[in-house]
């Protein structure tokens, strides 16, 4: 398997993306902002196809548009709550524009499937370096903001009173999530980002009460599911994206079942 360069590239790219997706996904689930990950990937689709239409690299267009959208969502913050119809309409519009850009850009018919469902087996050397660099950059940024991010998520009013700029924290975090989302689309595509961003983080929250352990578990699960998905795809000749979504979903269900059993055994009753 490893004798093929495309497999080596795929595995390395998967590892780089999974590291960031697992870590940022844990916080995304903690803050109950999982919908943001979904939304950003849809907006990114328009960015990628728009860039392709203009002759620019699709990944660059996706980076630019998702980060801009992430910053805007962080800026708006709580004002987005309750406006799900408006958000949904904007998402649909973004997908619509993506489709329109593809329509004009007829030279690339396969591009649509790659963007929507991922194409990790087609990652070339240059893209690999780009993925690795942006993933490591985002991980460093996430580590830098993690302490205030946790405080602002759990105790927003107290954090504000202690002088923490809540809006800045929210914007920085969603910018990191935006880049993570754009990277994830390289592996599983726009439509399946949820599996890689949310599945591992949600499963980790079922498995541990400890914050630090939760982040570590989310990263481990994301890595296992991505690498596992690529290997299973190689063996079965089924699509990578299918295997990753199946493993992510299975991982979450197993974690939830484990939690359910633990709770029934727990000596404490909620009151």
């Amino acid at each position: 398997m490893l004798e093929y360069e495309f497999m080596r590239h795929a595995l390395l790219a998967g590892v780089m993306v999974a590291l960031l997706a697992g870590a940022s996904g844990y916080f995304l689930v903690l803050r109950k902002q999982t919908f943001a990950g979904h939304a950003l990937s849809h907006v990114g689709f328009a960015g990628a196809t728009g860039a392709a239409l203009l002759g620019a690299p699709p990944l660059a267009g996706m980076f630019a548009v998702t980060v801009a959208a992430g910053l805007a969502m962080g800026w708006l913050g709580d004002r987005l709550k309750g406006s799900d119809v408006a958000v949904g309409a904007v998402l649909a519009l973004a997908m619509g524009f993506g489709m329109l850009f593809l329509h004009f850009f007829t030279a690339y018919a396969t591009q649509a499937t790659a963007l929507l469902f991922g194409n990790i087996l087609g990652v070339d050397g240059t893209t690999l370096y780009l993925l690795a660099a942006s993933s490591l950059l985002c991980l460093c940024a996430l580590a830098m903001i993690s302490r205030p991010l946790i405080f602002a998520s759990l105790q927003p009013e107290l954090a504000e009173a202690r002088g923490l700029p809540l809006r800045l924290v929210s914007m920085l975090f969603l910018a990191i999530v935006a880049l993570a989302t754009a990277l994830c689309t390289q592996v599983v595509g726009v439509l399946l980002v949820f599996a890689l961003m949310v599945g591992p983080g949600a499963a980790a929250q079922q498995l541990t009460r400890k914050l630090g352990r939760g982040v570590a578990l989310a990263v481990a699960l994301a890595l296992a599911e991505t690498v596992g998905g690529i290997v299973l795809a190689y063996r079965s000749d089924w699509p990578v994206s299918f295997w990753i979504t199946a493993l992510s979903c299975g991982g979450y269900l197993a974690a939830a079942a484990w939690r359910h059993r633990q709770t029934r055994r727990s000596p404490y009753k909620a009151n």
Binding site: L30, R31, K32, A143, M144, I145, S146, R147, P148, I150, F151, A152, S153, L154, Q155, P156, E157, L158, A159, E160, A161, R162, G163, L164, Q205, Q206, R209, K210, L211, G212, G214, S266, Y268, K269, A270, N271
Partner: protein, 261 residues
């Protein structure tokens, strides 16, 4: 210790966008006191606490906290907000929740040194919550969560503790427990407490003074000085009855008004 009052309001006027909530507030809260912040809904209790924290700028006048102008990010001022959003992080252990407040406003990785860990354990012991702390937040009752919030507020060795309606949603027994706990912490650590509440009865016997807000005005004094029909009638600008039944006190604002204590 400095002789500066814990909180001093000079000709304070508070409000939002043209709507005045409080005006002409001139009073001082001495250091080490347990002061109950009372008044009907919408009288400005939360706004006053937020102004002391520096989160709301006064329309006029000034606030001095521990001898310096009120400003955001003063470590010496601890705060327990009203209606803590309980739907985030319910799977996390109480200890991790409390720990998030340990220098939580500083950038960087949330590494806890030995001193920080010891401070967290001391704060948990202080509110008798060491055992609670290993359970997930979602499994705790309102009163138990309140103890964790109190432990979190004690991190950073505050000199002034502000509590916004910590008794809301608790039954009488748990209300008394929270008040007693806050009072014993005040005595042990020598801090000043400003405790907002809808009902004054759970605070009787623990509080030194009442800061009563109504109809845009404020009055500070002992329970007997403030909770009387003439004083409250003047404050409300309408007739108010004060009824005492078996060591319990009820404030009944004029015709059509609703009883609250």
């Amino acid at each position: 210790m400095s002789a500066a009052p814990a909180i001093a309001f000079h000709d304070l006027e508070l409000g939002y966008a043209g709507r005045r909530i409080l005006s002409g507030v001139n009073l001082q809260i001495e250091s080490g006191r347990f002061v109950a912040l009372l008044g009907p809904n919408g009288a400005g209790k939360t706004s006053l606490l937020r102004a002391v924290l520096g989160l709301v700028a006064p329309l006029r006048g000034q606030i001095r906290v521990l001898g310096r102008p009120a400003r955001r990010g003063r470590g010496a001022v601890a705060y327990i907000p009203q209606r803590h959003s309980l739907n985030i992080g319910t799977h996390l252990s109480g200890r991790d929740f409390v720990a998030s407040g340990c220098d939580g406003q500083r950038w960087g990785w949330p590494w806890l040194g030995r001193r920080a860990r010891r401070e967290i354990e001391t704060a948990l012991e202080c509110v008798d919550a060491v055992e609670l702390a290993s359970r997930p937040l979602g499994e705790l009752s309102g009163g138990q969560r309140q103890r964790l919030l109190l432990a979190q507020a004690l991190l950073g060795k505050p000199q002034l503790l502000l509590l916004d309606e910590p008794l809301a949603g608790l039954d009488v027994l748990h209300q008394r427990q929270v008040v007693k706990q806050v009072d014993s912490i005040r005595q042990r650590l020598g801090i000043t407490v400003l405790f907002s509440s809808h009902d004054l009865n759970p605070l009787l016997g623990s509080m030194d003074q009442v800061l009563y807000l109504a109809a845009g005005h404020a009055q500070l004094g002992s329970v007997d000085e403030v909770i009387s029909s003439p004083v409250l009638s003047r404050l409300y600008g309408a007739h108010v009855d004060v009824v005492r039944v078996q060591k319990r006190i009820f404030v009944l604002p004029g015709a059509g008004g609703q009883a609250h204590a």
